[in-house]
C-alpha cells in the first residue's frame, strides 16, 4: 500500500515539476498513439463499413480472420514489423527501425483490425431495412457507406475508442520496434517496464497513473466529439 501511495505522490510531483524528460515521454506517447489511431481509423472505419454492408462468398472466413486479427499478439506484430524494417527486410530502406515511425506502423497494425472489426459489427447491427431504404432513396455506393457510418456512429466511436485503448497500452511491439531509446522512442509503457526492471516501483507506478490520466482525458475528448457529432446529426 505504501508503494501505491508513494507512486501517487511521485506522479503528482512529476507532473507538478514539469520534468522535461517526462514531458518528452508524454509527447512521444501522444504522437505515436494519435498517428497510429488516425491511420487505424482512416483505414478501419471505411473498410469495416464496406464489409458490414456487403455479402460475398467467403465472408464468414474473412470475418474469422478479422476476429483473429483483433487479438493479434503484440509481440508477434512487433517481431514481424522488426523483420520488415530491419536492414534485410523489404522495408529496410525506409530506415524506420528504432524510430517513432516504426512504432506507428506496429501500433497501426495492432489497432486497425479492432477498429475495422468493431465498425463492421456496428454497421451490421444497424437495422437491415436502413440499407434497403437508403438504396430506394437513390444513394450511390459512396453515399450508402457514408450514411451508414453516420447511422452507426455510436458503435463506430466505441470501435475507435477500443482501438485507442489497445494502442496506448501497447508495450511488446513498441519495445521490439522502438527499442525504448531515451529521448527518441521511449514512451510511457516502455518507460514503466524499464523503471519496474530497475526496481523503481514508485516511479513506475507514477508513470502508470499518468498514462491512465492521459487515456482518461483522450477518452473524454473522443466522447465529446461523439456527443457533438450526434447533436449535429440530430
Amino acid at each position: 500500500m505504501t508503494t501505491f501511495i508513494q507512486g501517487f505522490k511521485e506522479a503528482i510531483l512529476l507532473i507538478w515539476s514539469l520534468d522535461p524528460t517526462l514531458l518528452e515521454i508524454i509527447n512521444h506517447t501522444l504522437q505515436v498513439t494519435l498517428w497510429a489511431l488516425l491511420f487505424a481509423s482512416v483505414l478501419g472505419v471505411p473498410l469495416g463499413a464496406m464489409l458490414g454492408l456487403t455479402s460475398f462468398r467467403g465472408k464468414g472466413f474473412v470475418t474469422t480472420i478479422i476476429h483473429t486479427a483483433m487479438g493479434l499478439p503484440p509481440v508477434f506484430v512487433g517481431l514481424v514489423v522488426y523483420l520488415l524494417l530491419s536492414n534485410r527486410g523489404v522495408l529496410g530502406d525506409l530506415d524506420w527501425l528504432f524510430t517513432r515511425q516504426g512504432i506507428v506502423v506496429a501500433q497501426t497494425i495492432i489497432g486497425f483490425p479492432i477498429v475495422m472489426g468493431l465498425t463492421m459489427s456496428s454497421i451490421q447491427q444497424v437495422n437491415h431495412q436502413y440499407k434497403t431504404e437508403l438504396l430506394a432513396l437513390g444513394v450511390n455506393p459512396f453515399q450508402l457507406v457514408l450514411t451508414m457510418i453516420q447511422e452507426a456512429q455510436k458503435g463506430i466511436f466505441v470501435a475507435i475508442a477500443s482501438g485507442f485503448g489497445r494502442i496506448i497500452a501497447e508495450v511488446g511491439a513498441v519495445m521490439l520496434v522502438g527499442g525504448n531509446i531515451e529521448g527518441k522512442t521511449r514512451v510511457l509503457t516502455t518507460a514503466i517496464v524499464l523503471e519496474t526492471r530497475q526496481g523503481r516501483f514508485d516511479l513506475a507506478l507514477a508513470l502508470g497513473i499518468i498514462l491512465l490520466g492521459i487515456a482518461f482525458c483522450l477518452h473524454l475528448v473522443i466522447s465529446g466529439i461523439q456527443g457533438r457529432v450526434a447533436t449535429t446529426l440530430q
Binding site: Q129, T132, E133, A136, L137, G138, E151, Q153, L233, Q234
Partner: protein, 239 residues
C-alpha cells in the same frame, strides 16, 4: 397512356420457396394501381421487384424511363432515382425532420430550398416539428414524413407499401388527399378495399404468389371474375 412497367414470365424465389409467379403484367404511365391480397401473397415482394431493389429469379421486370427500357441489371443510378418507394415501416435517419425530408434532394446534389421543404412539411402537417429529431415522431407522423421524403423528389413512380396501415382516419385522409393530387404513376399495396376503390384506376389481386385478377377498379369490386377474388372480397378466410 404509354406503358411504364412490363413484366414477363416472372418467378421469384427465396431459397427453395417460390414467392411469386407472374406470367405477365403491364402498368401504364400515370395510373394508380392497387395491389390487394392476403398477408404472404407476395405483394411486398412484387413491390421490391418494381422498385428494382431485387431482380427476379427468372423472367424480366422492365421499366420505361426517358425513352428507354431498363431491367434491374442495367438500370443506371440516374434512372434508379426516378423510382420512389415508401416502406410499410419507414426508417427515420438520425437527423431532424427537415433533414430527413431533404435527404433525397441532398444525395441527388439538388439545391435545398428551405421554403420548398417547409411547404411540403405544411402539406404533411409537420411544420411544427421541423427541427425535432425524426425518431421522436409518432408512427403516423413518421409515415407522413416518409411519404413527403419521396414526394418531394422528381420520381416517375411512387411505390407504396401499406402507407396507411394502423393509422387513424385523419392521417389516412391526409395521405390519400396527397396521393390523389399526384400526376405520376402510383402503385400501392393496401389491405383496405375502400381505399383501393377510392384511389386506384386499376386493381390487382395477388393470391399465393399468383396474380389471379387485374381489372378497372369499379368492375373489379362490383363484379369480380375469379371465384377466389369473389371469396376474398366477401371476407371469406382464404388459405
Amino acid at each position: 397512356m404509354s406503358e411504364l412497367y412490363q413484366l414477363h414470365d416472372v418467378t421469384h424465389r427465396y431459397g427453395e420457396r417460390t414467392i411469386l409467379t407472374l406470367p405477365s403484367l403491364t402498368i401504364q404511365q400515370g395510373e394508380t394501381f392497387a395491389l390487394i391480397g392476403a398477408s404472404g401473397a407476395g405483394k411486398s415482394t412484387l413491390l421490391r421487384l418494381l422498385a428494382m431493389l431485387e431482380t427476379p429469379s427468372q423472367g424480366t421486370v422492365k421499366i420505361h424511363l426517358e425513352r428507354a427500357w431498363y431491367d434491374g441489371h442495367q438500370l443506371p443510378l440516374a434512372q434508379r432515382r426516378k423510382i420512389g418507394m415508401v416502406f410499410q415501416t419507414p426508417i427515420m435517419l438520425t437527423r431532424s425532420v427537415l433533414e430527413n425530408l431533404a435527404f433525397g434532394l441532398q444525395i441527388r446534389g439538388e439545391k435545398i430550398v428551405k421554403a420548398r421543404l417547409m411547404a411540403m412539411l405544411e402539406q404533411l402537417q409537420l411544420a411544427h416539428v421541423a427541427t425535432a429529431p425524426a425518431y421522436t415522431l409518432s408512427g403516423g407522423e413518421q409515415k407522413r414524413l416518409a411519404l413527403g421524403r419521396v414526394m418531394i423528389l422528381e420520381t416517375e413512380v411512387i411505390l407504396l407499401d401499406e402507407p396507411t396501415a394502423n393509422l387513424d382516419p385523419t392521417n389516412i385522409a391526409l395521405i390519400e388527399g396527397m396521393l390523389q393530387k399526384q400526376q405520376r404513376t402510383i402503385i400501392i399495396i393496401t389491405h383496405n378495399f375502400f381505399q383501393a376503390r377510392r384511389l386506384a384506376d386499376r386493381v390487382g389481386f395477388l393470391h399465393n404468389g399468383e396474380l389471379l385478377e387485374v381489372g378497372q377498379a369499379v368492375p373489379f369490386f362490383n363484379q369480380p371474375q375469379h371465384p377466389v377474388t369473389r371469396s376474398f372480397l366477401s371476407g371469406e378466410m382464404l388459405f
